[in-house]
């Protein structure tokens, strides 16, 4: 059963928002869960976080960055186009509870998965301090939405084009150093950011959660391709996670496993670009 794209927008350079009609998924979705999309018969199954959902409208929003073949192909699609498969909601929902004050950190396209959590933590009665960052201002997404969903919003850019000149971790450190009592920090972004944040936060003894993004296929626990090591134990990120205790995650393993198919991925993209130029850009 195909799934119709209702809306599609480029919200930052090479970052796209897509709203998809999937009423059953929208009804069941919770913050922290993801979907798997397969564009057509020959496509890979690609996991993307549920960035927003509307049960009454029956829609699920995803936000993705152009990385390789599949995300670039997805980026070319438009409203009223159809996706062959859209499975979800998958994964264990984020452990959102009333805790007091929480800091939510989103780096790059990682701001997208943080957004539904900001809303959920607010609704659960927490004070939400959000810290979002990107390489530069033009890559920063969801600033207005995040401002509306948070009690406090901080922005950082690597080049200083907006907000704090530097990394989101600097801002988090300042908040913690200011002495405000923080119950939990949630960090979502590129693995390197999550690893650095986990290291920085360790001495503060504050509970830190990350959302892991290993390569997945089924997303239902039947292949084990998504295995990660947490506290020395092997876990399947698609069912046991994707949210885990940052201080226990083996980030080096995660990063090396993410690089497993680098050669194949570039071959696949070359093949795709070649086809596109040969056939004219469909």
């Amino acid at each position: 059963m195909p799934y119709t794209i209702i809306e599609k927008k480029e919200i930052a350079s090479s970052v796209h928002m897509m709203k998809i009609l999937a009423p059953d998924v929208a009804k069941a979705a919770k913050a922290g869960q993801f979907i798997i999309v397969r564009i057509d018969e020959t496509s890979e199954r690609v996991p993307l976080t549920i960035a927003d959902f509307d049960a009454t409208e029956g829609t699920v929003t995803i936000i993705f960055q152009e990385m390789g073949k599949t995300t670039k192909q997805l980026a070319k699609m438009a409203a009223s186009d159809e996706l062959q498969d859209f499975v979800g909601p998958l994964g264990t929902p984020a452990d959102v509870r009333e805790l007091g004050t929480v800091i939510l950190v989103g780096g790059g396209v990682g701001i997208a998965p943080v957004y539904p959590q900001a809303k959920a933590y607010s609704e659960a009665g927490n004070k939400v301090i959000s810290v979002i960052g990107a390489r530069n201002e033009s890559l920063l997404i969801l600033e207005d939405e995040m401002r509306a969903a948070s009690d406090e919003l901080h922005v950082a850019t690597d080049d200083g084009s907006k907000g704090h000149h530097g990394f989101v971790t600097d801002v988090v450190k300042n908040i913690l150093d200011s002495g405000e009592k923080i119950a939990r920090v949630v960090v979502i972004g590129p693995p390197i950011l999550m690893r650095v944040a986990a290291g920085m936060l360790e001495p503060y003894g504050v509970e830190t959660l990350v959302s892991l993004n290993p390569i997945m296929i089924d997303g239902t626990g039947m292949c084990g391709g998504c295995r990660v090591s947490v506290g020395g134990e092997t876990k399947f990120a698609c069912v046991d996670g994707p949210e885990f205790d940052a201080h226990k995650v083996d980030f080096n393993l995660l990063m090396s496993r993410l690089a497993l198919y680098r050669n194949e991925e570039s071959k696949c993209l070359d093949n795709h670009n070649h086809k596109c130029t040969c056939k004219g850009d469909n």
Binding site: A28, T42, L90, T220, M222, G225, T234, A259, L260, K267
Partner: protein, 456 residues
């Protein structure tokens, strides 16, 4: 009496490099010759050996009369998936084991004849089924593997409105994601599913029960539910190096190859590591399929590492023979102890230890014991772990009161009824990893029980 007719096979040298079907099927003459060997025993033991009790002498006598339509009709009275069963059933431990001619080592090739009849019908074009009048009852079937497909067919034939929920994007269960094209062409599975759709079954793929809807919710929306969710959770060994790049569960390896068609990369987008030296750990059908797939992906050497001896290999004999012919190396009485790490967390060989057979364990098989000091390293850049699977617990979230045992399998009575009033189960989800035909048998029994439950 003529000799047992050999199955025509694709040449081993050629087939080691392609994914086309290995066994080509009997010709008409061969089928007639093979059928002529059947003695049509008065009290046929073969039928008792068949988990769905096909009238074996009955269909074979039709073949003798060249009434192939009659033959397939006879088979289909009790078996909905003959094209599949004729290809993958372990006949040597079922019907053919009990054949009176087996005593002389040459049982009638019942499986090959079954396949012949099914292929005859497929070629001719299957007559679409007639839909029965509606019973007004709704049944949900979860999982589109052999258990679910069989239950759905029987329930639809009984007039119930059947909705089938499958978590993957394609139907067939293991028949689609596990068993490779060269052993079971996917077109056959697709046709079987088409047939079930023609019976009026509403098939919903991309639908994960436990996530999108729970069993508790389905029990409200439907009059009865059948669980055919299989045993899809891969086991790992827990040895050092198992998370290295290049180590796969057999499920992942085969899913990439079969469901995602990684063997057609880059025309299909999903990649797979094509190892030069591949080690497959395990000795079952799954291990054989993984090894033979790795070979077809271009490996120089593929070995099966199995801790017991050849006699204990749980795989079908025919497939072990086929694998050997293709050049798969069997490292028997050998067990991996750790996977060695190369550059960038990749696999760089596997340390193995030799084993000897000790006292029989509770399964009656002699248990393997490591021979101290016999550690040695086998070259490998890809390792596939095929040591078994257990039921996927996803279905259990939101299934209040559904009882399972310590191995995670669902507890049922003889009719397939679970601890919940309107919920039935069958197949690998109940037995743990077993066979296609036993899953089908369980689907049939449960469908029958659901029918009775719904008519009360």
């Amino acid at each position: 009496m003529v000799d047992r007719q050999a199955m025509p096979l694709q040449d081993p040298k050629e087939r080691a490099h392609n994914f086309n079907e290995v066994a080509l099927g009997y010709s008409g003459e061969q089928a007639l010759a093979e059928a002529s060997r059947c003695l049509e025993c008065k009290s046929p033991k073969c039928v008792e050996g068949c988990p769905v009790n096909i009238d074996i002498p009955g269909f074979i006598s039709c073949i003798k009369k060249e009434d192939f339509d009659g033959a397939i009709d006879t088979i289909k009275l009790t078996n909905t998936l003959p094209a599949v069963c004729g290809r993958v059933c372990p006949q040597e431990v079922q019907c053919e084991l009990h054949c009176i001619l087996a005593k002389k080592g040459e049982p009638v090739a019942i499986g090959r004849l079954e396949r012949f009849c099914a292929d005859y019908e497929r070629e001719k074009g299957v007559t679409p089924p007639v839909r029965t009048t509606s019973s007004g009852k709704k049944v949900a079937v979860i999982g589109a593997g052999p258990a679910g497909l069989t239950a759905a067919a029987d329930l639809a034939k009984a007039g119930h409105a059947v909705t089938m929920f499958e978590s993957l994007h394609d139907t067939g269960g293991v028949l689609t994601y596990g068993i490779p094209e060269f052993r079971l062409p996917k077109a056959i599975v697709r046709d079987e599913v088409e047939y079930i759709k023609q019976l009026g079954v509403d098939v919903k793929v991309d639908y994960v029960i436990g996530k999108i809807k729970t069993l508790d919710e389905l029990r409200e929306d439907f009059d009865a539910v059948f669980l055919g969710t299989g045993a899809g959770l891969p086991k790992f060994m827990g040895i050092e190096g198992e998370n290295l790049n290049g180590v796969y569960s057999a499920n992942e390896f085969l899913t990439r190859v079969n469901l995602m068609k990684a063997y057609l990369f880059p025309d299909y987008d999903t990649p797979i590591k094509r190892g030069k030296h591949v080690i497959v750990v395990g000795g079952g059908n799954v291990a054989m399929d993984a090894a033979r797939s790795a070979l077809r992906l271009g490996a120089d050497e593929v070995s099966i590492v199995y801790r017991r001896s050849e006699d204990e290999l749980p795989a079908r004999k025919e497939e072990v023979e086929n694998a050997k012919e293709e050049g798969i190396v069997f490292r028997l009485l050998t067990n991996p102890t750790r996977i060695l790490e190369g550059e960038n967390m990749t696999v760089n060989g596997v340390e193995c230890i030799r084993m000897e057979l000790g006292e029989p364990d509770e399964s009656g098989r002699r248990s393997p014991v490591p021979i101290e000091g016999s550690e040695h390293v086998v070259d490998a850049d890809v390792v596939v772990i095929a040591i078994g699977t257990s039921p996927n617990p996803m279905i259990f979230s939101g299934s209040e009161g559904l009882e399972t045992n310590s191995r995670g399998t669902i507890i049922v009575d003889d009719s397939g009824k679970t601890s919940l009033a309107n919920v039935y189960a069958g197949g690998d989800a109940v037995t743990g990893a077993a066979t296609v035909i036993s899953a089908m048998g369980a689907g049939k029994i449960a469908a029958q029980a659901i029918n009775e439950y719904l008519s009360n």
